[in-house]
């Protein structure tokens, strides 16, 4: 995947807002509601971001009305764009250790 591609994806309307809001796992509907994004656009952006590994499907959780809903969480902490030599985009992934501790800690509070 080319660097320009990632920039394109990030540059799409709402992409940055979605990444900003997915520090904790969030569903498409919640994103749409909270950020005021039309739901169809929201799904499209989620697909694009997931395709580029910027966002990941975190879990299928059971909603209050007992339906399965997908929740997403961002996969990056930082994106660096370097123009100095040749355009390069460096995606700093979230550390896995922090992810796992976050998850374990969150399930504590649920219990």
């Amino acid at each position: 995947m080319s660097s320009a591609d990632i920039l394109q994806t990030l540059g799409n309307k709402y992409s940055a807002e979605i990444l900003d809001a997915t520090d904790e796992p969030v569903s498409a509907q919640e994103l749409s509601d909270e950020l005021g994004i039309p739901i169809a656009t929201c799904y499209r952006r989620i697909d694009e971001l997931t395709e580029h590994d910027l966002l990941e499907l975190h879990d299928n959780i059971l909603s209050d009305d007992r339906r399965r809903i997908k929740v997403y969480r961002r996969n990056v902490d930082q994106v660096c764009v370097d123009f100095e030599e040749e355009l390069s985009v460096n995606v700093e992934e979230r550390s896995e250790v922090t992810n796992k501790l976050d998850e374990a800690w969150r399930t504590l509070s649920d219990g």
Binding site: S95, E96, V97, T98, N99, K100, L101, D102, A104, W105, L108, G111
Partner: protein, 241 residues
């Protein structure tokens, strides 16, 4: 009524007025060679040997075989047997640092914690644990989350902390504030070797003896002498530092 977890270490439980507060996390600080790992080893061993409580020993510093040899050299003969039976679960340097992949070890560890099979845990050392986090804020956040996870899973934990400065100077880091208990192991050089002391500086929810008491490391592990005269900075002769 506060529940206590006995260390089974001679004299230490007396100073602690019974033991470490159950489900708490205590930082064990000291210079290299002060006896931190021995105290931890003994805590886990006694757990199984005297109190029927299983333990997890996480070490970034040693291999399982180093640990076994250390245990046997102190007279903890049944260490290999307890490890084989699963009463002591060792995550050693090789496992924890395999392919630099602490995160898969975290998965295994978290599974073990949720098992409810273990009551005691040792993490040797804090410094290595902190290497997995990027900045002070992350270190602080994840130490808190980690200790929460330990507490909620019913583990009474010791974490070792390398102390750079020599007593009576102490490095007091965030970790000292974030943990429930602080135990310092102190060694001061003498003509014939070293004098060793232990100081329990803090134990939340528990009334402790805060004097500094002499201790020895010998066959059988650590022995503390709560009745001996406490360490004094005003002693005769040259000051120890």
């Amino acid at each position: 009524m506060i529940q206590l977890t006995q260390t089974g270490i001679d004299g230490l439980d007396d100073i602690l007025n019974g033991g470490i507060v159950t489900n708490s996390t205590t930082l064990v600080s000291g210079n290299p060679g002060a006896g931190k790992s021995i105290l931890c080893l003994q805590y886990i061993y006694n757990g199984v040997d005297e109190f029927g409580e299983s333990g997890i020993y996480l070490t970034f510093e040693e291999n399982a075989s180093d640990l076994r040899e250390a245990a046997e050299s102190l007279g903890f003969d049944k260490w290999p047997e307890y490890v084989a039976d699963g009463k002591i679960k060792v995550y050693d340097k090789q496992v924890l640092l395999r392919e630099n992949d602490f995160s898969s070890s975290i998965d295994l560890l978290l599974d073990d914690l949720e098992d409810d099979q273990y009551d005691r845990l040792v993490l040797d050392s804090l410094a290595m644990f902190e290497l997995f986090f990027d900045d002070e804020m992350e270190k602080r956040t994840y130490l808190l989350k980690f200790t929460d996870i330990l507490r909620e899973n019913g583990l009474t934990s010791l974490i070792t902390n390398e102390q750079g400065s020599r007593f009576p100077d102490t490095d007091i880091g965030l970790a000292n504030y974030l943990t429930d208990g602080n135990i310092y192991l102190i060694q001061t050089p003498t003509d014939s070797g070293v004098n060793r002391y232990v100081w329990v500086a803090k134990m939340r929810k528990q009334n402790i003896e805060t004097d500094i008491f002499p201790m020895e490391i010998d066959w059988g592990g650590i022995q503390i002498h709560p009745s001996a005269s406490a360490f004094s900075m005003m002693g005769e002769g040259d000051p120890p530092i």
